[in-house]
């Protein structure tokens, strides 16, 4: 299958040079290479430039309201655990309005994938400060420079209990594709923060190119939590790749009722209800 098999007819409206292109392409490649069953994939996107992705993907999709990608994804997965459920957010979507769901989804270890387009700025609303904007960044809402310390999504995910934590970079599609593939194959909550430039409001590409290095080329042990945390807290250089991966029972695996047919397709068993009502006599 070629990439176009997964594209709709819809014209892309991202700014030329935007990092979203790389994310889309790497994602399509990962899906194709892993030969997932197309009809069983569901993509959820939040509101933001990143959110338009769903328009371009010939996949089941739900373009939801700002900040609520994760609870929606959890609902989908609980309804039908046979679906491959992938959420996409922007850094505003994920870490400003939506950070509570992020922490809680990570600790639950629901088997969903979460991909954050981190351009360190609010794109669609035309350039305000975001929780990942670096100190000093001048934006429309911080004209004298941001003075609030950026959050560290990788470290937060680790602390929150995510079982797969990675960072991607749109400047290296090959690498990004590999990371995405690993995430898609992980069983449990898989989180990837992808550093992408917003060429219109904050072009991080040159800075990122200078700073990134690959974890897998630096002898990093992805099964070691402490090491993952140390890397997450690095600030001069920016490691990309998988920080941490561990297999823990997923949320669904711990709910006995979920064994068997997906909830969506089950019928009602009358004896069960009768038994329940019987107790009220």
């Amino acid at each position: 299958m070629s990439i176009s098999r997964l594209r709709t007819h819809v014209k892309i409206t991202w700014c030329p040079g935007c990092g979203n292109f790389a994310i889309m392409n790497a994602f399509i490649r990962a899906i194709l290479e892993l030969e997932f069953k197309i009809k069983d994939i569901v993509v959820i996107t939040g509101i933001g430039c990143h959110g338009r992705l769903h328009e371009y993907l010939r996949l089941n999709s739900f373009h939801t309201i700002h900040g609520r990608v994760l609870p929606l994804a959890i609902g989908i997965k609980l309804a039908n655990k046979d679906l491959l459920v992938i959420g996409f957010s922007g850094d505003g979507d994920a870490y400003a309005i939506g950070i509570n769901h992020f922490i809680h989804a990570a600790r639950r270890n629901v088997d969903i994938k979460y991909i954050v387009h981190n351009n360190m700025v609010f794109g669609l609303t035309r350039g305000q400060v975001s929780p990942t904007s670096p100190l000093g960044l001048k934006t429309k809402s911080t004209p004298e420079g941001n003075f609030v310390r950026p959050i560290n999504p990788i470290a937060l995910a680790l602390i929150a209990g995510a079982t797969f934590v990675a960072r991607g970079f749109t400047g290296d599609i090959e690498h990004l594709t590999t990371v995405l593939k690993q995430a898609l194959l992980h069983r449990g909550f898989a989180f990837i923060d992808i550093l992408q430039p917003c060429v219109t409001f904050y072009n991080t590409l040159p800075m990122l190119r200078r700073k990134v290095y690959k974890l897998e080329e630096s002898g990093h042990d992805i099964s070691n939590f402490d090491e993952a945390m140390d890397r997450a807290l690095e600030s001069d250089k920016i490691p990309i790749g998988v920080f941490y991966k561990v297999r823990r029972p997923t949320f669904e695996e711990q709910i006995p009722q979920l064994k068997g047919k997906p909830m969506s397709f089950r019928d009602i068993e009358m004896e069960r209800v009768l038994k329940f009502v019987g107790k009220l006599v």
Binding site: I38, H104, V281
Partner: protein
């Protein structure tokens, strides 16, 4: 068997929080149920964990009992506060079962029949824990009413599964025997046995749980909040046997979005909350509306605004339910009037949500969900017709096909090969974003046409509105005021005043034609509601020419039938 119609007796039980007051009420209701008597149990407690005055009013009858009554035939007082607070409720010759410790100044001994139990002493003697005091009193009551103790022991054993089971049984026996020994002279005959039917005692929350499962709910998700959380506890406790999944979300916004996700992927889901949580859900209700994703939200009202009075009842969220979220989209709002209707309409809500692909809000309140009522063993038939289609072609599904009814075929991702795209932005028939004028208009019009379709389908149905009784004077209400109104009608009828009562169940789309028809020729109506601004009366005003007299109550307490009857008499007289 001789049966006096409408014989009801009222028992009030009160004490401090932690003394098992509310539980005593339920045990007693179960007991009477086994004896073939119907009951209604109203409870009241402050928003505290310990301390503070708790009480419950159990009204018993040999016909269905629709609400608690204002005045008591029996008072079981575990503390002095109970006696002080409720003295005004006690009928002449009322039976008092009290802890001997309570100083008696308050009680005019000649007015009442008094059973004083030396609780501490009795329990100490048998080495029973103090928390079984309430059971001693229930045993005592059983003795006074002339019943045998066996059924009561049965009930107590069924309620206390493991913890303190024997202690509670012992305590019950203790009270029974002590009373037989010392107060046999006070024995009275209680209401004759009523029916032979199988009676169940259920709270509104339990009824909703049954209705939810019968309606095919597979996922329940909520954030704890009074008075909706008992539903969470109940469903969590029974999730395996009911074959459902229960998720406590991190907040109400997460809860409702989990539910929306589940519906999108084909599983029926419910979330329940009360005012504060519902306010938080507004944006997401609009998401369901615009994306035409089915959704059922149960709003158990309590006294607001804001945190307000968390454990007290109210009907003040009607207007918000009608306009929850910015923008315009079809939705259904239904208000069950009692526990039986809560069961049925929860099933119905699930069906309607999927049929019309709209959010359905089930408006109940603290008074419905936390009251207990004896009802006949319900008709357990599932309402579980699915309304989706399966498209096997590998196409992008026309999820928002423009149709005359406004209802587009509903498909589920993963079923069939077609892809289902859903969009919170305005969209075309396939779910792709559009901004062009004509395209926007036609999608908005399609969506809003559903409102007419729903109106056409439901506006004249039994779900829309019902009447009871017949008479020149008319009461109109919605929701939980139904019970006290029906009891008030009993009271009034016994005084020779026949009433007609119109219960409106469907609040959106508003069944204006049916209401107009049912009230034709009627010059004035009394509208009864539990809020301060007459929200429903104002709604009615738009469609009705009759004079509207509002009877409002907004102190967090439900109406008592006596209050309504009194107001009706006032109105009629003037």
């Amino acid at each position: 068997m001789k049966r006096k119609y409408s014989e009801v007796k009222t028992i009030l039980i009160g004490g401090q929080a932690g003394m098992g007051i509310l539980l005593s009420g339920r045990v007693l209701a179960k007991f009477f149920g086994r004896m073939g008597l119907y009951t209604f149990l109203h409870t009241e407690y402050p928003s505290l964990i310990r301390g503070g005055h708790n009480f419950c009013i159990l009204t018993v009858g040999n016909r269905k009992v629709y609400s608690q009554r204002l005045y008591a035939d029996t008072l079981i007082a575990l503390d002095k506060t109970t006696l002080e607070k409720h003295l005004w409720r006690l009928k002449h010759n009322c039976l008092l079962i009290i802890d001997k410790k309570i100083e008696g100044d308050l009680v005019k001994r000649d007015k009442f029949k008094i059973v004083e139990l030396p609780l501490d002493e009795l329990l100490a003697r048998k080495k029973l824990p103090l928390i079984t005091k309430n059971m001693v009193m229930l045993g005592s009551l059983v003795a006074i009413l002339g019943y045998g103790i066996d059924t009561m022991i049965d009930v107590v054993s069924s309620v206390f599964k493991t913890k303190y089971k024997t202690e509670n049984i012992e305590a019950t026996k203790l009270g029974y025997e002590y009373t037989l020994k010392n107060f046999k002279h006070l024995q009275e005959t209680f209401i004759d046995r009523g029916v032979e039917k199988k009676i169940i005692i259920t709270s509104g929350n339990e009824a909703i749980a049954i209705g939810a499962v019968l309606g095919g709910m597979k996922i329940y998700t909520a954030y704890p909040i009074t008075p909706a959380s008992p539903l969470l506890h109940l469903l969590a406790a029974h999730q395996r046997e009911l074959d459902i999944v229960v998720v406590q979300a991190e907040d109400e916004i997460a809860a409702i979005n989990i539910a929306i996700g589940a519906w999108y992927a084909g599983a029926r889901a419910i979330t329940a909350t009360s005012g504060p949580g519902f306010s938080l859900m507004c944006e997401s209700i609009g998401l369901a509306g615009l994306t035409e994703t089915p959704l059922v939200v149960i709003l158990a009202q309590r006294q607001g605004p804001s945190t307000g009075l968390p454990t007290y009842t109210s009907q003040s969220d009607l207007k918000l339910a009608l306009q929850a979220s910015h923008g315009e989209f079809p939705k259904i709002v239904i208000a069950p009037g009692d526990i039986e209707e809560s069961l049925v309409l929860t099933s119905t809500a699930l069906d309607l949500a999927e049929r019309y692909q709209v959010p359905v809000i089930v408006l109940v309140d603290r008074y419905i969900v936390e009251s207990y009522k004896a009802i006949d063993f319900p008709n357990i038939t599932p309402l579980f017709e699915r309304h989706y289609v399966v498209e096997e072609r590998d196409v992008i599904f026309k999820r928002y096909a423009i149709t005359e009814s406004g209802i587009s075929p509903f498909a589920i991702p993963g079923m069939g090969n077609a892809l289902v795209k859903v969009n919170s932005l305005e969209h075309d028939e396939y779910g792709f974003f559009v901004e062009e004028e004509k395209a926007v208009e036609s999608m908005i019009e399609k969506r809003l046409r559903k409102m007419s379709t729903i109106y056409r389908d439901l506006g004249e149905s039994d779900i829309a509105a019902k009447t009871y009784g017949n008479g020149r004077e008319v009461i109109v209400s919605w929701g939980s005021t139904k019970g006290p109104i029906l009891e008030a009608m009993n009271i009034l009828e016994s005084k020779g005043l026949k009433m007609k009562y119109l219960q409106v169940i469907l609040l959106a789309p508003f069944p204006k034609d049916k209401i107009r028809r049912l009230l034709r020729g009627c010059e004035r109506v009394l509208v009864v509601e539990n809020n301060a601004t007459g929200q429903f009366a104002n709604l009615l005003k738009e469609y009705l020419d009759a004079e509207i007299i509002s009877l409002l109550k907004y102190n967090g307490r439900p109406f008592y039938p006596e209050e309504i009857a009194e107001r009706v008499e006032e109105v009629v007289r003037k």
